[in-house]
């Protein structure tokens, strides 16, 4: 296991270099360039001067090497548009994203796994049809529209919840206030995952229930409840853990639309703004952090397999 982990971490480092190199190339090749160089009042001379001050006059490979060297030294540079150190920006935004995606993850597993199991054990019943319909509805709904509808309904027509942001900036703000702000974006972010997870749970459950060992257990006279929870569930969990592992990085980096619609100050909205502004240091910093999360979550999934299925060995 230890040897396996060391090998995986070595692969991770190589992967990081490839990912950042590709991002750097794509980013600098994209037309336009940083907003800070595009003020309509600036002359060509001032633009050139600004480029020199920011180090943008160097060849691409050199800019990348300088960036990489800084990162190795623990410095992610400073944002072009905000002037803030990128590490500080990420430090502000990452916890917010983790809170939102954690809440969404919790919500989706709590809702999806029971729903999937119920609809698998009562196949073709009215309940199964409702779950199936809701799942497809959840998967196909565009997030920006769904989010706006919830805002219109629950923040404007019925002023129960705040329309966006993370806390009330004009009054006392405590955990309850943050929780109220969390409700709508967490529901929106969880919906698509609930739908997907419920579908996976259902089909995985159905296939496990058709396995020989379930039939054997049943013929031995094991009760329905024990059959479900002791014999089937753990096996059902393997594909679910895989899917959850795949959803995890999406929750950290890919909540861009939900975060933008609800003005949640997280990594997704940070990445979107940085991309629009061509804020190179921020784009690189966010990419690096998200890639690390992706690789780590894959690693965690692989380790979980060992626990869930004793036949798997590394």
């Amino acid at each position: 296991m230890a040897k396996y982990l060391v090998r995986r971490l070595g692969q991770t480092v190589i992967l990081m270099i490839v990912v950042t190199m590709a991002t750097f190339l794509l980013m600098t090749a994209a037309p336009g360039g940083p907003s800070i160089l595009l003020d309509p009042n600036m002359t060509a001379e001032q633009v050139a001067q600004m480029k020199r001050l920011l180090g943008l006059d160097q060849p691409i490979w050199k800019q990348y090497t300088i960036w990489m060297w800084r990162v190795v030294g623990g410095n992610l540079g400073a944002s072009f548009s905000a002037g803030t150190p990128v590490a500080e920006l990420i430090g502000h935004h990452l916890p917010n994203t983790l809170l939102l995606s954690g809440a969404a993850m919790l919500l989706s597993t709590l809702a999806a796994i029971p729903a999937g199991i119920l609809s698998a054990t009562r196949r073709h019943s009215r309940l199964d049809q409702v779950v199936t319909f809701a799942s497809f509805f959840g998967i196909s709904m565009p997030v920006f529209w769904y989010g706006l509808m919830l805002i219109v309904l629950f923040a404007i027509r019925l002023p129960w919840l705040p329309p966006g942001g993370m806390r009330d900036l004009q009054g006392p703000s405590g955990p309850l206030d943050v929780a109220l702000h969390l409700v709508l974006p967490a529901i929106v972010l969880a919906t698509a995952n609930i739908a997907q997870l419920a579908r996976y749970t259902r089909s995985s459950m159905i296939s496990v229930m058709g396995e020989d060992y379930i039939r054997t257990a049943r013929s031995k006279g094991v009760g329905a409840r024990s059959l479900l929870y002791r014999h089937a569930l753990k096996n059902v969990m393997i594909p679910i853990v895989t899917v959850t592992g795949l959803l995890l990085p999406r929750l950290v980096g890919g909540a861009a639309i939900t975060e933008t619609v609800f003005n949640w100050p997280g990594m997704g909205s940070l990445a979107v703004r940085a991309a629009f502004e061509r804020d190179y240091p921020t784009i690189m910093g966010v990419t690096l952090v998200i890639s690390v999360v992706v690789v780590l979550s894959n690693l965690i999934v692989d380790v979980l397999y060992v626990y869930l299925d004793p036949r798997i060995r590394y």
Partner: protein, 532 residues
Amino acid sequence: MRSRLALARIGLVLALVIALGSMPTHAQQQPRSGGTLSLPLIDNARVWPVVGGVPNLMVYKAAFNMLIRYNDQDLLPVGDLAERWTIGPDGKVYTFTLRRNVRWHDGRPFTADDVVFTVNRIWTNPDVPFYLRGNIDVIERAEKVDEATVRLHLKVPSFTLPWMLGYLLPILPEHILKDWSPAQLINPTPAMVRSVVGTGPFKLAELVPGSHARVVRNDDYYAGRPFLDAILYRVIPDLDQQLAQLQAGQLDFMPLDPRQLSAVQNNPNIRINEARQVNYTYIGFHNRLDPFKDRRVRQALTHAIDREALMRNVIGGKGMLSNHPISPWLEWAYNEKVKGLEYSIVKAMALLDEAGWKVNPQTNIRENAGKPLKIILETDKGDPAREQTAVIAQQYWKAVGADVEIRMSLFNALLARVRAGVKSDVKAHILWYVTPPHPDITAYYGCGQSTNTFHYCNPLTDRILAQARRTPDQKQQVALYRQVQERISADAPVVFLYHPFELQALNRNVQGWGRFGFRDTLNVLNRVWKSQ
């Protein structure tokens, strides 16, 4: 019977008097102190006047003052940190008398040294790529006469400088910045920015990336204590989210996109202002490239568009038609006699024929020397008004025999290409300009000027513009600018479309808000107050 009627009459009158007396009238309301004004930012604010950007200026305007600002009646320059100024007879020396009762937020007095520092070490320092230098490149240097007097020496005579000084040029504190390097002056970290003090009505209190900036009342403000306790700037990049926050009462102001108007028009808590702003939208041509080199082609393409209909459809008619770059809000300089090039397909076709572009009956496209009249019209993705304008112009131009292809790209990408100088490959593009409230348009239409993205050059117009700058007499100056407006309108370097109103949605309890665009109201935030 009679007395009953009389009684009834008296009763009616009494009721009316009581009703009138209890009706609130705005004129009677006394400004009230207290409260927080909440404004939106589309991105983090740098709060640093040496660089540009709208979120940036929205915050720094609360914390800093300029030498001169524009008054809120007609946008003419009035003293801000300068109490008054005189111009030497040759137009090359300006003497400013500074206010004596101004203090920096840290308590240090504001003096001539601060002005001299700002001018010599930032505005004119070749090592600092200060983004607004183009507007004030006539300034050679500043000289301290005494603690409260500063002289500005110009390279060439200019009588239009006060208007430029009122356009985003705050004075910065020498005692804090004197040891900063050029790199630090142009790109300070937020920690450095937080150490800087201003003289403005509000002091920077909080700067949280991705969330908000907060400024709080400066009790020692030179023009008296501001009414508001604080201004909270909330970072909200998404316009629909801004609208939701406005409806929920979490924002007190936002500039609306015309398509958002219907959502809040009938909301009793929200007031809509059609604010005047110095701003125009255009279809710009690369005047050095074919077919736009030929003035007749440019004129024809303007004649071909029903600009009034376009404005009605694209921004709901919320603007004024534009015939040249001078804003109709500069009433003292605006030449209302210039009617522009009217919508006339006949004239458009005649001009194109005259310029040698004849219709090929097989394709219905005009050709000149075997080359078809092909126009690639570019604009930025995501702005509904400009996207629609592109499609509408395409239809109008097709009707007179041009083959028009629309290209959309991201704003930054388009801007970088438009601003690539004479070698720019953008031949026709739709964008807009916000300019100082003065008819001196040399920077945008003067031959070879760095912000002349149209590469338009008319030596005679150039001479008139240069002469106007050197003319001390206001009347003569205006007469020259009126000529400029005629000439530019006739030359049609771009299709002038419209001067849009800024559609301001304001919380009903915001009072003392100016009549001009928010950029100008932000200069007098000390007068804004909130009623309950």
